[in-house]
């Protein structure tokens, strides 16, 4: 069990004071997207904060979270290698598009030219070739979402946490960005947790769905 690849939420429960916000007990296999649904305030984002290592100490978590067999609890956020995508792209506004990607690019790739080439390739992959020197604030919402995805993938995450990443996009963009993200998850064979209140997201993710907070 502990050697299993992927993400395992074992008897995980998170409480605030006496109130238990959520209980999740579910494995997420490589290339699989677990969709967590629930009304706002149900603690969906709290679950992601816990897996990412950012849980507010006011909350109490029990149970374990394992990634590829490794217990995440003792690891600080920067050692977990768990990528984050929010509903805002949150590109660093003081850096260019390319510098945002360089910030994410895994440090094992050495050499200025090689790193630049890797970033250019990542941009081309999402049809943003030549955008290296652009100001992120001048990009459209869909373009920003694609840069944010590439930024997190360049760090070579072992899992992805998706916090309603499509909710700010209009309908036409939504499906293309969705496809891009889920495709990346499948191709890299990493587990992902998607938090959303849009049933269409869950359907597109095609994986198991758990509902928390209130009646299912």
């Amino acid at each position: 069990m502990t050697d299993a690849a992927g993400l395992a939420l074992d008897q995980l429960s998170i409480a605030l004071g006496d109130r238990t916000l959520l209980v999740v007990d579910h494995p997420v296999g490589p290339g699989e997207v677990l969709t967590v649904m629930g009304p706002s305030g149900s603690g969906k984002s709290t679950l992601l904060a816990h897996v990412g290592g950012f849980l507010d100490p006011a909350f109490r978590a029990r149970g374990t979270v394992r990634l590829d067999g490794q217990d995440l609890a003792p690891l600080p956020p920067e050692r977990r290698r768990v990528g984050l995508l929010f509903q805002d792209a949150l590109l660093f506004p003081h850096l260019s598009v390319g510098e945002n990607l360089l910030f994410g690019l895994h440090p094992k790739l050495k050499g200025r030219a090689a790193r630049r080439a890797a970033v250019e390739a990542a941009l081309a992959e999402v049809e943003l070739a030549g955008f290296f020197d652009r100001d992120p604030a001048t990009l459209s919402g869909g373009q920003q979402a694609r840069v944010a995805l590439q930024r997190s993938l360049l760090a070579e995450p072992r899992a992805l946490l998706l916090d309603e990443p499509f909710s700010r996009l209009d309908a036409a963009l939504k499906s293309s960005v969705r496809a891009l993200v889920f495709d990346a998850v499948r191709r890299r064979a990493i587990p992902a947790i998607l938090v959303t209140h849009d049933p269409a997201d869950a359907e597109a993710a095609g994986g198991p769905v758990v509902t928390i907070g209130g009646t299912p």
Partner: protein, 564 residues
């Protein structure tokens, strides 16, 4: 560990005040072994009460302090109520930084030149009135302290407007005004009833700081205040600086009296607040809409604008006087001369260097302390949490302590403590004394933007595998470049403006451009004084300009980094 760091820095901020207070209490009751006082006695207080005019001095401090604070608050309320959301409000907002950058001493000197009987206003009046010499009027230094009060209002109202501006968004002015006006209230009444109470609650500590400052100010009172008798703080500093060390007993008793005066002012102010609350409540119960407010809206912003105009004209007067040669009375312009600037160039170098050095060092040390403090406060909540962080109340109290206890009272005690310890006044002590005032302002200016930065940036950074130092250096600091530099500029300006710490802790051995300008003012050489006051003004203005220009230049191609 983090709590220890926070408590330690808070103690560091509060300690000089407490040590300083101990340093005046002991000599005030006769205990000062270094000067032969080793028995407790009430003699210093008896001596103090025997000083001619000491009670009028104390009452003058109380009255000018209260009047200046009340008028400053009213001027700011009137300005906000009548013009919030208008173009002229936005324009004044942009003018605030230069108004605040003018040091107190320079502002007072400029105002003195503006309203003096030999100043431009009387020169303009001379022609129609047929005057051929300045009228024999005591305008500057009038016995009631009216010009002192007016000068304080002109300088403190912009400060209160600044803190009110910071507090305004939380009062949701646009929504509340819309709501109140939909119920039929006029703009001014709607603002006073629905927005101002929330704003005032948040700016209470700064208002008290203004009150403490105005009731114990020395440099402005030396320049604009009366001399027969002067305010209590002015007399107290005279005794502190007297070569006759035995006057330290008298000075300590006066410092305690000053504390009492400021405390009385605070208590009276609490009464003023109650009256204000009553009036507002009565207005709400009465339900009058105040819709016919067209004239009121024209009049209410005038006092604030007049004060701003006076500060601007005063600075212009400094410029004119610094280039003035011969300037007989009714002429509107003097003959041009470089004489004052040549004299300033010959003598201003060392004090300028000291000013710059002390301001730079105090600002740097304050910045390091404040950033360490803010980091520790945020980290206490856990790594990069999303909960809103604030300055802990105990820390806020420690921060405001040096701003609310009258400077002159605890600095006198610090000087006595330094004498008692046998330390030599020098640059390190002077920097430390400035730090006591620089650090609080730097912290107050930086705390909000520091806590307001979206924590998700650092979360994303961490999820990308970046270390904490990398997140700090490559995300937080560059993202906060503009507020960091603004906070430094404020700290720098606070240091440049300090008169008393330099005078009392530097013990006259480390003159700065500020102490020299105030000293020159007493000598009557207007041209040279004006040149020094302009130099004093130029330093903070230059630093503020840099603080605005550098981030704009650095991020010129980043639209997301434009100030809101």
């Amino acid at each position: 560990m983090r709590s220890i760091l926070i408590a330690g820095i808070a103690a560091l901020l509060a300690a000089p005040v407490l040590i300083g207070l101990a340093g005046v209490v002991l000599p005030a009751v006769g205990y000062f072994p270094a000067l032969g006082g080793d028995a407790l006695s009430l003699q210093p207080f008896r001596d103090l009460l025997a000083v001619p005019g000491i009670i009028p001095s104390a009452l003058l401090s109380l009255a000018t302090g209260l009047a200046a604070t009340l008028l400053s608050v009213l001027v700011v309320v009137g300005f906000c109520a009548a013009s919030w959301g208008t173009a002229s409000f936005a324009a004044m907002r942009r003018l605030l930084a230069p108004l605040l950058a003018i040091p107190h001493a320079a502002a007072a000197l400029g105002l003195a030149l503006l309203i003096a009987p030999s100043g431009p206003l009387f020169r303009l009046a001379a022609l129609p009135l047929g005057l051929d010499r300045p009228p024999d009027l005591l305008v500057v230094g009038d016995p009631l302290g009216l010009s002192l009060t007016a000068g304080l209002v002109a300088k403190e109202a912009p400060f209160l407007l600044l803190v009110a501006l910071a507090a305004l968004p939380q009062a949701k002015p646009a929504r509340r005004l819309r709501l109140a006006r939909a119920l039929g209230y006029g703009r001014v009444v709607a603002f006073l009833l629905t927005v101002w109470p929330t704003v005032y609650r948040q700016i209470r500590l700064p208002v008290l700081a203004v009150l403490a400052f105005a009731s114990s100010v020395v440099d402005v009172a030396l320049i604009l205040g009366p001399s027969t008798p002067p305010t209590l703080a002015v007399r107290l500093v005279g005794w502190m600086n007297d070569p006759d060390l035995s006057l330290r007993f008298l000075a300590s008793a006066a410092a305690l009296l000053q504390l009492g005066v400021t405390l009385a002012a605070v208590l009276l102010w609490l009464g003023v607040e109650r009256v204000g609350t009553r009036l507002l409540r009565a207005a709400i119960h009465g339900g009058r809409r105040g819709t016919a407010d067209r004239v009121v809206r024209q009049v209410l912003p005038l006092p604030f604008r007049l004060g701003a105009l006076a500060l601007g004209l005063g600075t212009a007067m400094l410029l004119v006087w610094s280039f003035a040669g011969y300037w007989p009375f009714p002429s509107l312009l003097p003959s041009l001369s470089m004489h004052n600037w040549m004299r300033a160039a010959a003598s201003a170098g060392p004090p300028l260097r000291t000013t710059l050095l002390v301001a730079a060092m105090a600002t740097f040390v304050a910045l390091v302390l404040v950033v360490a403090l803010l980091k520790a406060i945020r980290a206490r909540g856990g790594p990069m949490v999303e909960t809103k962080t604030h300055l802990p109340p105990a820390l806020l109290a420690a921060v405001y302590l040096p701003l609310i206890v009258p400077q002159v009272a605890f600095l006198s005690g610090l000087q006595i403590a330094i004498i008692a310890l046998g330390w030599t006044p020098g640059l390190p002590l002077l920097v430390a004394a400035h730090l006591v005032f620089v650090a609080p302002y730097l912290l107050l200016s930086l705390a909000d933007p520091w806590f307001a930065l979206d924590p998700r940036y650092e979360r994303i950074g961490a999820s990308l595998g970046r270390s904490r130092p990398a997140l700090f250096l490559r995300l937080r600091l560059p993202l906060l470049l503009a507020p960091l530099l603004t906070a430094c500029a404020i700290g720098f300006a606070v240091s440049v403006g300090q008169y008393l710490p330099t005078l009392l802790i530097g013990a006259g051995r480390l003159p700065t451009i500020t102490t020299e300008a105030v000293a020159l003012a007493a000598g009557g050489n207007r041209g040279l004084t004006a040149a020094y006051a302009l130099l004093q003004t130029a330093l903070p203005c230059l630093v503020f300009a840099l603080a605005l220009a550098l981030p704009a230049l650095r991020h010129r191609r980043r639209r997301g980094m434009k100030p809101a």
